[in-house]
Amino acid sequence: MKLPSPLRFLCCLLVVALLGACAKTETAVALGNRTQVLHQNIGGEPPDLDPQLMQTNAHFNVLMALYEGLTGYDPRDLHPVPGVAQRWEISADGLAYTFHLRADAQWSNGDAVTARDFEFSVRRMLSPKFATPYKHYFDIVRGAEDYSAGQLADFAAVGVRAVDDRTLRIELRQPAPYLLFLLGSFAWMPVHRATVEAHGAYDAIATGWSRPGHIVTNGPFALADWRNGEEIVVKKNPRYWGARTVRLQEIHFHLIENADTEERAFRTGQLHLTEFVPATKLAIYAETAPDQLSVAPFFSTYLYEFNLARPPFNEPRVRRAFSLAIDRVQLAASQPQQHLLAATGLVPPGTDDYHYTGDNALRFDPAEARRLLAAAGFPEGKGFPATDLPFDTSARHQHFAEILQQMWERNLGVRVNLANIEGRVYHAERVQRKYTLSRGGWVGDYLDPHAFLSVHLTGGGQNVAGYANPEFDALVRRALDQRDRAARHEIYRRAEDILMRDLPIIPLFHYTAQHLVAPSVRGRYPNLLDYHPYQGMWLESK
């Protein structure tokens, strides 16, 4: 029997459509290499392009293209370089900074970027009504905390003031050697006052000023298009003061969420840069295309937190026993392609020459661990209360939790129960301190040991363990007053020594940042915070 003719026709259509799809064309990467168009994936949609509301590290890439703070970063080691501020003076006591803004800094609509824009932006950030989680980036500014808490009514008393259009003065309540670094970060980026106010109250969120078509920015690139769920396109901003040296013409920030989809897009020449590398593909790239795989130390620490308010972990010997029973080197080596670094303390190495290696440095000593646990009343783990080891759903967290479970059982005789909990539930309950033991982690906001140690100050918002030690607090605060680097590091060493003695948390290892990078990408360097300014980046095929 023959096929009925309408069906035959449809079949033919399908075949033709398939064949038509078979035209081999130049890939986006090859085309981009010729036209200086970079294709980078950032792993998902940013909620907003308002720099004062930004949420994740990956989205910071878009902000770095769109905005520029008073300072910028050297792409190799991230030391602060002039941004909108051409130069600055620091007072002898380290409390007052005077910034001189460049005359040719412009917004993407042609307005001049002035010191008043920065003053306005800080006022918006600190307004008690402005709901953003990043106010702590301003804590060191005189009067900032009081103003944002509503205890100080007059913004004039806050230490950020435009002296004139091109001079900005910032006064601190205590010296902060990392201030120049902070000034380049997203929270300190300026917003365009007229645009913000044209769309609603200056301190309201979700007014729509940062939508495509409205948004005005001051960085090397300007927003051209935002196709939701697909890509954000930025084009070189001809008004940028340094436009002459910017070589990329466009950046397409792809919004692929799935690591496997992303990797396939990289392989078919759709992406120059990926946000992730699937764990299963690390070994393959390391072997077959090492020039395309970038694995670099990341300023972060993977850790577990104890609930210090509840037994059994209110007992320091138990915490110490749990820490000593972990073979961190083996734990880190369990994922060899990720090049994880076993932790000896909380602060990852790499901030100048600071790296904690004191008497309380984390080590593996099962005999001592068993002795301490017995001394605490649990010989060979007998009588130890049932303990959960909760973690937020992820293959990676599960992997490490299973290894910890085995190590504690083998070395302490204590069996903890793994509890795999959906992300939002986990984070909500973790902050409410419902767990006796919880998975945590920290990524430094700036390249300074303070970024890690200050988390554990008494009453800190991220101090989930509930740690409170006045001696530790005093040292961490005092370190900021110390302008001599070596002396400052010595104080940090003493503070970290106390922290690693008390062990409110047990650091396990330091992460690495992993990306796939097309060989044509130039002027991009692995660095500790995974920040990559686009001003000096370009594409060049061999």
Binding site: M1, K2, L3, P4, S5, L7, L10, L14, A17, L18, G20, A21, C22, A23, K24, E45, P47, D48, D50, Q55, P128, F130, A131, P133, K135, H136, A149, A204, I205, A206, G208, S210, R211, R227, N228, G229, E230, H254, L255, E257, N258, D260, T261, E262, R264, A265, R267, T268, Q270, E422, G423, R424, V425, Y426, H427, A428, E429, V431, Q462, V464
Partner: protein
């Protein structure tokens, strides 16, 4: 028939209300909220955010306010995650993509499913039948998350004919439509084959043959109409599923459709976006089930609108 349709639409109102109510409260009773993050948000900021979105009011008040806006103004509220966009905007943005993908997949499913289903029934118990049935079983058994990457590996990476992901050119539509369509075509094929086999042995087909009607006419005019009945009742809800998107396909191929928003919004506790998608999906299901019923009556003379 008008009365039947009007009646069914009236019945849909309480159904929709129940769906909205249950989803609203289930969602709000789930631990964690739209502003929960690994880095804890300071309590005073959280209060500010909750006040901005009206989350500080008692739950029943929030529910009434929400329902009022939805029913009176069709306003599904602002999205919690995408602070600059409303749920109406997001749905208006993503639904057409899902409709396009679903429509194309449906064409693939119907063309492949009906053709091979009819052929298998006509060539019953021959090598054709076995071959089609095997392919059909494979289509049902191989999940889309295996099929999709396999197609990409072959046509995207090995041959370099199409992109691995994205939704930019018409070539980008080929693999997702095939992947999604293939699964449904397998079901349609098996249902068509079964339906046709049952019909082809009926007296009226023999009568038609005796009267000298051509084989094409017998199959298309007489047999197909009855043989399609099981397919039609399957297609009602299936089309709703196909059209509102498939999370898996949209994730594998990075398609900016509704399926991905639906699943992600639940993970993000984006209350309004979850409810918006639920309402849309439920509405479509109700509507398409109604269409399926109408079509069935039209195809089957034994049924009446009652």
């Amino acid at each position: 028939m008008l009365r039947f349709v009007a009646n069914r639409l009236l019945q849909a109102i309480p159904v929709m209300l129940i769906i909205i109510t249950v989803s609203f409260f289930m969602l709000r009773l789930a631990p964690g909220g739209p502003f929960t993050a690994e880095k804890a948000v300071p309590p005073e900021i959280l209060r500010n955010l909750e006040a901005h979105y009206g989350l500080d009011k008692p739950l029943p008040v929030q529910f009434i306010t929400y329902l009022g806006k939805v029913v009176l103004h069709g306003d599904l509220g602002p999205s919690f995650k995408y602070s600059n966009r409303t749920v109406n905007e997001i749905l208006a943005d993503k639904l057409p993509v899902s409709l396009e993908l679903g429509g194309l997949a449906l064409v693939v499913a119907l063309v492949l499913g009906l053709t091979f289903g009819i052929l298998a029934a006509l060539k019953r118990n021959t090598i054709f039948d076995y071959a089609f049935s095997t392919v059909g079983m494979v289509g049902i058994c191989v999940p889309t998350f295996v099929m999709g990457p396999l197609l990409v590996l072959t046509f995207g990476i090995h041959f370099g004919w199409v992109n691995a992901s994205g939704w930019y050119t018409w070539q980008d539509r080929v693999l997702p439509a095939l992947t999604l369509g293939f699964v449904y075509s397998a079901y349609i094929m098996r249902l068509t084959r079964g339906g046709m086999l049952e019909v082809l042995t009926q007296d009226y087909i023999r009568t038609a043959r005796a009267k000298g009607a051509s084989e094409t006419r017998i199959v298309l005019r007489h047999a197909l109409r009855g043989g399609l009945l099981p397919v039609v009742s399957f297609l009602g809800p299936a089309i709703a599923g196909i059209l509102t998107g498939s999370f898996v396909i949209e994730t594998i191929f990075q398609i900016p459709g509704l399926g991905r928003e639906f699943v992600n919004s639940a993970f993000n506790r984006d209350y309004t976006l979850v409810l918006g998608t639920v309402i849309l999906y439920a509405g479509l299901l109700v509507l398409l089930n109604l269409v399926a019923d109408v079509v069935q009556v039209w195809l089957n003379p034994k049924l009446k609108f009652e």
